[in-house]
Homo-oligomer: 302 residues x 2
């Protein structure tokens, strides 16, 4: 297995990221895309302009390598918009999917929640909510062994009439689909474990994700400060566990979902740890044959 | 001082809410709007239709009493849409404000954050973001004694080009205003204490607020479970403090901001506690002469 790793386009230096890659002891061969051979698309670059002007940057080059089977997955800390657009231009789309979405998972009281889109598309057509619901459900079937994943639609109230016209139309489509659709879900009910997939547009989804991160970091900091030096072994254990559960900076990042290939956008907090977690996550997705399983999960119903 | 209290339109019975009102020992005279004399607008009612058909329901009746000076503030657990619309129809708007927004405050690492709109308007025109920024800044000047409140725009990235067209236009307007505008703010940076006002449309703001609530409830539950029976006095103290800080169910609720009158929408979790907190909050706002101070804060710059 060969995993492509982007050393460019993040806040961290290519040297630091290379160090992170070299520290890792994993089953896969890691193929780096660094400054020696590739141009850089920065976070400030406009995604589409950058892809047109920098055809040999690390992102589009790696995407072609993924398409051609030279690597089995691609992991990047770089420009999210460029990563998603390049995947959409270069890789085949999965059956019945118009555009890729960013999928990430969050812990809940009883398991994990797949959320998409968390930032690829500022707005969605109603049919795209349905497509993302199918993708999220297929992802949970494959990675969490949930036979009938329960799908919720992120909204500002549980009543059917809530939200914009587009969201109400999406509600109708989801309601008449073959998915286990539980209806509208508010942010505060997303973490109870009552749903497995949360569908949303990339703007609301990004707000949802980053607010969850912000509050959990805030509470963790507050707790550490409140306990101060007087941390007993029991308190230490609870805090450590809490940190593993809720420190979203330690999560493997987001999958560019809907394309025929494993493309992982790492989380940008602590870049060294982020890229290591992203690489481990990508290896797991390749090992468990995620894309083929999603394809067959999508096929009968499309 | 006379505070109007709505006993109708929530999940709790009028009897329970009346009990909550009677338990309170406050300086104000509490005037209840109950089932003996008023119709009910339910949470399932369509706000505008309900206001047209139930002219003598508790919400529009109390709003007229507020306009006529028979009460000094109105507190309700009822239908948010009807409450906002009734306020907009009945009360004068504050200078330079088109439509009311829902304003709530959240704790941050160093103080409090005023967030608006958290649910009154699904979308906003660019000029309305500026109006809400002014309202939020005036609120923080009055309630938190912050001379130059720092204003952030909720967005999915800090770069100016991020977000929808409407949000980019709002960014320009805020940038060229006389406010202390710090630019785009992501959900995860809202709680650091670097801003005093967060401006957003009612859809994104509602997702922001409810996600913050959901995550904090989730973490509090997780902590209580993790410590189990082995809670030392020190742990008990830290958890109690955390609960006071982050249990948003205990917050006084949201202000219908932008109208000439104190209208408070209570938080709907624990209704008895919610309405008591809402009443205490309304009394404070009347005592500190909030509306007049907001008016004078708005006037020089409009």
């Amino acid at each position: 297995m060969r995993i492509g790793v982007d050393l460019l386009g993040s806040d961290s230096s290519p040297e630091l990221l290379l160090e992170a890659v070299e520290e890792l002891d994993v089953v896969a061969e890691l193929v780096t895309f660094g400054p020696d051979r590739f141009e850089e698309i920065t976070t400030d670059d406009h995604p589409l302009l950058a892809l047109r002007r920098k055809r040999d940057a690390s992102i589009p080059s790696a995407m072609r390598a993924l398409r051609d089977g030279d690597i089995d997955a691609f992991v990047s800390l770089g420009n999210t918009g460029a990563l998603v657009a390049s995947a959409a231009f270069t890789l085949p789309m999965l059956p019945g999917v118009d555009r890729p979405g960013l999928l990430t998972t969050l812990p809940t009281l009883s398991g994990s929640l797949a959320v998409l889109d968390v930032g690829a598309n500022i707005s969605l057509k109603p049919r795209q909510y349905l497509q993302f619901a199918r993708l999220g459900a297929a992802y949970q079937q494959c990675t969490a062994d949930i036979r009938h994943p329960r799908v919720g639609l992120l909204n500002i109230g549980t009543e059917r009439i809530k939200g914009t016209r587009g969201i109400r139309d999406a509600h109708e489509l989801l309601h008449s689909s073959d998915l286990s659709f539980v209806g509208n879900v508010e942010g505060r009910d997303a973490f109870t474990g009552d749903i497995d997939v949360l569908v949303t547009d990339g703007f609301s989804g990004n707000i949802f994700l980053k607010t969850a991160e912000g509050i959990s970091m805030f509470i963790l900091n507050h707790l550490r400060e409140a306990f101060g030096d007087a941390v007993t072994p029991q308190v230490e254990e609870v805090l450590g566990d809490l940190n593993r559960h809720f420190n979203y900076a330690e999560y493997p990042g987001a999958l560019v979902a809907g394309v025929d290939g494993v493309v992982v956008k790492c989380h940008g907090f602590s870049s060294k740890q982020a890229i290591q977690n992203g690489i481990r996550g990508a290896i797991r997705l390749v090992e468990t044959n995620l894309i083929d399983r999603i394809k067959s999960a999508l096929s009968p119903s499309m």
